[in-house]
Each structure stands twice: as C-alpha cells, then as structure tokens.
C-alpha cells in the first residue's frame, strides 16, 4: 500500500508533463460522439437485483429505466410510470405505466413485464432476495400495476427509483435466467437510453444509443435520444492508469479520481465534476455495548482527542467535507440533516484527558498509553479490506496517530469481508467505519435502529434506547415527510449526545473529463448517472 502512495505523488506529475508536451489534447474540439469512460469498478454481477453495489448503478442506469425517477433534490418524477397512488395506509400502490415505451428488443412496455420483473424475486428456487417490503404484486390491466407492501414504507418511491428492481422485457425474462443476467449485461433487456452491444469481461462494455428513446427524465437537459452515439466503458482498476489515459487523450472521462490527484489534473486543463454522496457518509460507529467504548466517557474522549477537520483536510486535500452527523446533508427528505449539530463539539485534548481520568484511566504504561487496573486502553478498529477505498485506511492511520497523543491505543485490523462481518456480528470490536449510500434518510434509520443489530441490520454501534426504538420505525413508515424530518433530526441529536457514531467525512465521487465534455450528471446517491445528457462541445 505504502508504495502506491509514493507513486500517486510522483507519477501524475510525470504523466501531466508528458501530456502538456504533446500539445494538450484536451483543448482540441472533438466532434466524434463516441465517449470513452474509464470506470474503476467492473460489476461483479450486472443484475442489480442480485448484487447490490452502488458502483454497479453507473453501468446499469445506462441500460434500464426505473418506474419512478428521483432528482437530486429528492423530488419524484415519472419514470416508466406516469403516475402512482397509494391507499390510505400506504400499503397498496398503483402505478400507471407509459404507453409509448419499448424495450431494446422491440417489445412494448406492459404491466405484464413489470409484474414478471418483480415475480423473479419470489420465484421458486430464485437466488434473489425479495426486498423486505415486498408482499405481492399484480398486473391489473395492460398499463396498470399494483404493488402490495408488507408494511407502510416511507421511502418506497425512492426504493423504486434506484436500479435494484430492473424492469426487463418479458421475452428476455423467459430467454435468460438469473445467472445469465448476472454474468452478461447483454442479457439485461431494458428500456434505457443505451443498449449494451458488446461485453468483454475484465476489459470493457460497449453501449450504443437507443434511437427510439423518448422517455428520458423530465429534469434532464434535453429530450429524445441521448447525444452520444456510442459509449465505451472500460474497467480500469488502477487510478494512475486512468489518470494517464485521460491526460494522454485516450479517455474522455475517468471515474473515481483520487482527491490527492485532483489539483494536478485540474491544473492540466481537465474538468472535475462530483456530487456529495447521500445516505450515511463515512462514519465510525463505536461499540456501545462491549469493550472500553461501552463507557460513554471513552467515546466522547476519542471524539475530542482527534482533530477531525485536520484529518479530513490532510487526507483529502480539501476535496471532501468533514461530516458532523451520520446523515449526509443532501439526503432526502429535505431538511432531515440537522445543521445545529455542526460545531457542537470540538477538538479538545484537555477535555479528552479529563474524561479518560474520570473513566478510570489514570496510569500510563511505559509506551505512554493510558491504563486502568493495569489494562491498556486499546480500541480495535476493524475494517473490511475489500471495501477500503478513498484512502480510508489512511484516515484510520491519521486517527490512530492523534489518539496516541491522548494515550489511546488504536489497533487497525484489515479483515476479509467474511471475517469482518463475523467480528461485527459477535460484537468483537470497538470501532468500525463504513458508509452506506442511499438517497433517503431511511438508511440512517437502519444504522441507528435498536432492532438492527448484525447480521440482520447495520446498527454497528449497537446503541439502543426506548426513544430510538419508537422513532426509527415511525420514521421508516410515516407517510408525512415533515414528521420524518423531525424524527431524523431527533435521532441525529441522540446519536450526537451518545457519541455512538463518530461522523468523519462526506465522500464525493469525482469524475475528471476533457474540458470539451459536457453534461456529466450524478444520481441522488452521488454516483454518475446515465450518460444521457453527455455531449462534446464544439
């Protein structure tokens, strides 16, 4: 790992020099409408119904359209459905479908296709997991589809707006099985602005424009088919290789630009675009039931002992904002983010020292760490090695270094996914760190739900009290956005008082492109959306 950071600093400079020497391809107008995009992650499984990974969304959104669309303000617009209504308790939803939509294979969109697309979740022998809100559904007539929920679900429209439940053509659902759809994007026959035409596993996916496309988002910059005639998504895991390809002119845009390289890439004349993530930003839930962090004074001392602003600023060079609560500010429903928490605590090593003394950590061992009854104050920070991105391991190291000043030992353990989840489940840790993207505050509810202990939920702080036990389910099911906002603000305040989760930073998915590229947009979760509006300026 270390080696890569050194490289990260040296190579871009060389590459940029090289690109400048070659005359700056970036300023040459490009009239071709073939768009080469370098993505960092290749979907392990293209079927978003089977494999949930936000990075897959970027690929899938090109191919499929959701029933309902959500804009970046959290408002809902027609997608494949023109209108929808629910019964009084919000358990039965009726969707009216557009009558002018065709799938990539020419089949007309029908309620039957929508029904079949959902039926595969509950089919006999299916390896897909039906969402917990799904009770049943049926096609009422050719253009009306009815969804019955197990319980009122406040964010049901948001759920249907993301690509987790792809609407596919009836013929393709018969022709291909779930395994085909997972392995081969060409088996996903959707209605989206681009049609997958060639997939070369481990290398690239080629998409062609859907010339019949007349059902783009209302909030898009244009109507009709996409501007680009062809999109080539190459899967390039190494950030420095992506940067090299961009600066040498062989790529039009690249995904996941490391913040460290952002200045250099910008100075070389390339354009950066990004959108802050929604949902739960990168946060560190502290174990509130076991180990030293079960004592709130230890949790508060840790929060005071670290200069979080400095950590985030140093690692991300000002490209990412520091987080104050476990809810990202732009998450719907609008207003849920509690701005009052900003600035409510600060870097205060003295306060940390007195809190730790109060908690009984009065002695120091020969390495300078605090001890209590001869036991060193050690906090184990576990992370899922496969999920380390964005230099999150460097963040952990920076926190570790600052905590050491306060006499707190943090040990960092990088585990494989399975071992990590096992440790979380058995409550064998003091600190974890995660981010959970979702364009609705419901995911923040999941992360604070007293009933949501691992493995069934993501309340990794394990904090529970009677208020939260009432607030979280109410916020998840209430049909009244104002009530939800009020509840989510209360939950944030409680988390802040209890220091059950330490917020760290709000990630932003940075896309760098040639300056001739226009119209890269982001979905409400903060990932690049379909390349529907993208074009080359002349």
């Amino acid at each position: 790992m270390k080696r890569r950071y050194a490289l990260a600093a040296v190579l871009p400079a060389a590459l940029l020099l090289a690109s400048c020497a070659s005359g700056g391809a970036a300023t040459t107008p490009d009239t071709s409408s073939r768009f080469v995009y370098l993505s960092d992650l290749e979907p392990t499984c293209f079927d978003t119904a089977a494999y949930k990974n936000l990075a897959n969304y970027n690929v899938i959104r090109q191919i499929i359209d959701p029933l309902v669309r959500q804009d970046n303000e959290g408002k809902f617009y027609p997608g494949l459905a023109t209108e929808w209504e629910s019964n009084d308790d919000g358990t039965v939803w009726t969707f009216t479908l557009r009558d002018d939509v065709t799938f990539h294979d020419g089949e007309a969109l029908s309620a039957g296709a929508v029904q079949a697309s959902f039926a595969r979740f509950v089919a006999e022998g299916s390896t897909l997991s039906a969402p917990r809100w799904y009770a049943s559904s049926q096609a009422i007539d050719e253009s009306t589809w009815e969804l019955t929920l197990t319980q009122p679900t406040a964010n049901i429209l948001q759920q249907l707006s993301n690509p987790d439940y792809p609407i596919l053509s009836l013929a393709s659902l018969e022709e291909f099985d779930d395994g085909d759809r997972c392995a081969d994007p060409l088996a996903l026959v959707g209605t989206g602005p681009f049609v997958p035409v060639e997939y070369d596993q481990g290398a690239k996916l080629i998409l062609e424009r859907n010339d019949d496309y007349e059902w783009g988002p209302q909030f898009a910059e244009h109507t009709g088919p996409a501007h680009l005639s062809e999109v080539e998504i190459q899967f390039v895991p190494e950030a420095q290789v992506r940067i090299g390809a961009l600066t040498s002119g062989s790529a039009d845009a690249i995904a996941s630009l490391p913040p460290l390289n952002a200045d250099a890439v910008e100075e070389a004349g390339f354009v950066l675009a990004g959108a802050p993530a929604t949902g739960v930003p990168f946060v560190a839930p502290l174990n509130t039931t076991d180990g030293p962090t079960a004592d709130i004074r230890v949790r508060e001392a840790l929060r005071s002992a670290v200069d979080w602003d400095a950590v985030v600023d140093t690692v991300y060079k000002g490209r990412y904002d520091r987080a104050w609560t476990p809810l990202a500010p732009t998450t719907a429903p609008a207003g849920s983010y509690d701005t009052e928490i900003e600035g409510s605590f600060e870097f205060d090593p003295d306060a940390a020292a007195s809190l730790l003394a109060e908690a009984g950590y009065t002695q120091k061992d020969d390495e300078g760490y605090l001890t209590k009854d001869g036991q060193r104050l050690t906090l184990r920070w576990i992370s899922d090695a496969s999920d380390i991105r964005d230099q999150r391991d460097v963040v952990a190291e920076a926190v570790q270094a600052q905590a050491r000043e306060a006499g707190i030992e943090i040990t960092i353990e990088q585990l494989d996914t399975s071992a990590y989840l096992e440790r979380v489940e058995s409550s064998d840790y003091e600190i974890v760190a995660e981010s959970w993207g979702q364009s609705d505050a419901a995911v923040f509810g999941s992360a604070t739900n007293p009933k949501g202990l691992a493995p069934n939920g993501i309340n990794y702080s394990r904090y529970a009290d009677d208020d939260l036990a009432a607030w979280v389910p109410e916020a998840a099911s209430s049909a009244d956005p104002e009530r939800r906002v009020e509840l989510y603000r209360q939950i944030q305040q409680r988390v802040n008082e209890q220091v059950s989760i330490i917020p760290i930073y709000i990630q932003s998915f940075l896309v760098a492109s040639k300056d001739s590229v226009e119209g890269i947009t982001f979905d409400p979760v903060g990932y690049p959306t379909a390349f529907y509006d993208v074009q080359f300026a002349n």
Partner: protein, 340 residues
C-alpha cells in the same frame, strides 16, 4: 518433478551417449507406466488441493450467507434462510464437502456466489487472455535470459557486473512499478501501445514485458552462472581444440548444460507467473484468471477461489510432467519414471 531431479542432479560432466541396448518396447512400457503414475498424481493433487482449500475456507471466520447478502441494509431471517438453501449452505459441512468432491470428479466446480454462473465457465472464459500473457511473457523471459547469458558469460568482469546488475534490478523492482513506468512511457507519453484491455497483440506487449522481466532476471542469473562454469570446463577446451567457434561452443556445448538447472526452477516460475498475472492484469486492466482470483478473494467467493486453486494445482502438476519429459530428452541419463 522433484523426485526425478533428485535422482539425477544436474551435472556439468560431459553427457554420455544414450545407452544402445535400450529397446523400443521397454521404452513404451516405461512411458505407459509413467503416464499412469502421473495421472494418479494429478487426481491426488486435485483432491488434496480441493480438500485443503475447502478446509481453509471453512476454518476462516464468517458465514458465506453474510457475504452474499452484503450491501442489503435490512435482512430478515427468511432472506438468510432463502440464500442458505439456494446455495446449499444449509447442509452439514461434511455433506457440502461430499457434494463438492462429487462434483469435482464429474468436472463440476460449483457456481460462483457473486457471479452466479458455473466456476468452470468463469475460469474457461478467463483462461485464454491469461495463457496468452503467460506464454508470451515466458517466451520473452527466455529470449532475454538467453541473449543476456550468451552475451555476458565469460566476457570478463565488466560484462558480468553489468549483467548481474540488470538481473538484480529486474528481480528486485516490483512489477507494479515497472508496469507503471512502461505504461507512462509507451502508452501515455508515446502512445505506441494501448494501456488497457486485451485486444490483439499490441495490448499484450506491455503487460507481457512487465511480467517477463523478473523471470528473465532469475533465468538469466542461472543460465549465465552455469554458462560461465561450463566454459571453463575441460570439454569446452576440447571442443575448442577441435576447432569449434565461439558461438558454436556457447550455444551447443555451454547452453545445453545450462538449460537443465534453468528447467529445474521453471516449475517455480510457472507458479510465480500465476501470482504475477494477478498484479499485471489489474494494472493493465486485462481480463484473466489472476483478476478473477483477486475479485473472488476480495468478496470471499469460495467456489471461485477453490476452483482457481484446483486449476492452478492441476496446471503445476501438468507443467512439471512436461518439464520431466523435456528433461529426459536433454539429459539422456535421466529416465522417465526414475526414482519414482
């Protein structure tokens, strides 16, 4: 394999002519016996690899159901039960093992948890680009090593010093670095080759070159040292007195002796090629077995990990078999099956 090599250690003595009385029939019988013994070897190694990887994955902490459901924020016990039964994870471990071995014997390696398709298909699809990469890298490594050894051996201190230096650099500098430098030079600064993908020969050049350098370093070291030794042997002098030219002596007499020790490490080299492709395929965004393995390990996709392990084991055994045969051709004192 190692047994044959121990039975007949490489030597710098002159090679004896092949024994005249060795009859054709006896040769055939030996070859059949040898083939049968090796077929059994392959099956045993496969079973051992399967068992070992199965046990290892079982011993590792964590429940595969959690791994499969990772990314779902709210999970009900029913969802977990569904997943467990869909993947046969609700069966007792011993039964899972028997099913796995039973499948293995019929060529079925199970299905990937994440990609949800048969592991054999995944490996088969990833194999051609990796095979092309490994073969080309191997060929390059051999050419570099041979040229380096022939040019530098017995040419005095300076040549040796330069050759040793280059070999050490090739071995010691991480492939990742070499690859990035080659990329910045020949894909970005001077766009001669593509930086990503596996489309045709051009895309093979930089990754194969990167992969070949450490191998060339190791092979070159062995070849050159042995060549140096051989050139000082009396039989080389004899050849020279018979009027053989320098080039002829180096190639016909020196090299033949030097190739044998190089062959003995080639099994290890194939192993390192497999490991090396993981880094190279990621750096150059190439499809292949290495990248499949890396992704599988990251997501703990047990069937794919086991599949790649078993496949690699079979590959190594097969490769060693081929080396044994080549070895017996190069050095007639080595008999197939000797020492087995």
């Amino acid at each position: 394999m190692a047994d044959t090599l121990i039975a007949a250690p490489p030597s710098t003595e002159p090679l004896a002519p092949r024994s005249a009385e060795s009859s054709r029939a006896r040769g055939a019988a030996v070859a059949i016996r040898f083939a049968r013994a090796r077929a059994i070897d392959i099956v045993l190694v496969m079973l051992a690899a399967a068992t070992l990887s199965f046990v290892t994955l079982q011993l590792m902490p964590g429940n595969p159901v959690d791994t499969i459901l990772r990314g779902t924020f709210e999970i009900t016990p029913e969802m977990r039960a569904d997943v467990a039964s869909a993947y046969g994870l609700d069966e007792p471990v011993w039964l899972q093992y028997i099913h796995y071995i039973g499948g293995l014997l019929t060529g079925d390696l199970g299905s990937s948890y994440q990609q949800r398709k048969p592991v054999t298909e995944i490996i088969a699809a990833a194999l051609p680009p990796t095979a092309a990469l490994a073969a080309f890298a191997m060929a390059l490594a051999i050419v570099f090593a041979l040229v380096g050894a022939l040019v530098s051996a017995g040419r005095g201190r300076v040549a040796r010093f330069v050759a040793q230096g280059l070999e050490l650099v090739a071995i010691a500098v991480p492939s990742f670095w070499i690859g990035l430098i080659l990329l910045s030079a020949f894909a970005f600064a001077i766009p001669l080759f593509p930086s990503t993908g596996a489309d045709g020969f051009a895309s093979l050049v930089l990754p194969a070159l990167t992969l070949s350098l450490p191998l060339a370093g190791v092979l070159g070291q062995i070849l050159r040292e042995r060549l140096d030794e051989t050139l000082e042997q009396p039989h080389t002098l004899t050849a020279r007195t018979r009027g053989a030219g320098t080039a002829r002596i180096r190639v016909r007499h020196g090299l033949r002796h030097s190739v044998i020790p190089a062959l003995t490490v080639s099994g290890a080299i194939v192993g390192s090629l497999l490991v090396g492709t993981t880094v190279i395929e990621t750096l150059f965004s190439r499809p292949g077995v290495g990248r499949v393995l890396l992704n599988a390990v990251m997501s703990k996709d047990a069937p794919v990990i086991m599949g790649v392990v078993i496949f690699s084991a079979i590959l190594l055994v097969t490769f060693n078999l081929v080396v044994d045969i080549i070895y017996s051709v190069l050095d007639p004192r080595v008999r197939l099956g000797a020492g087995a």
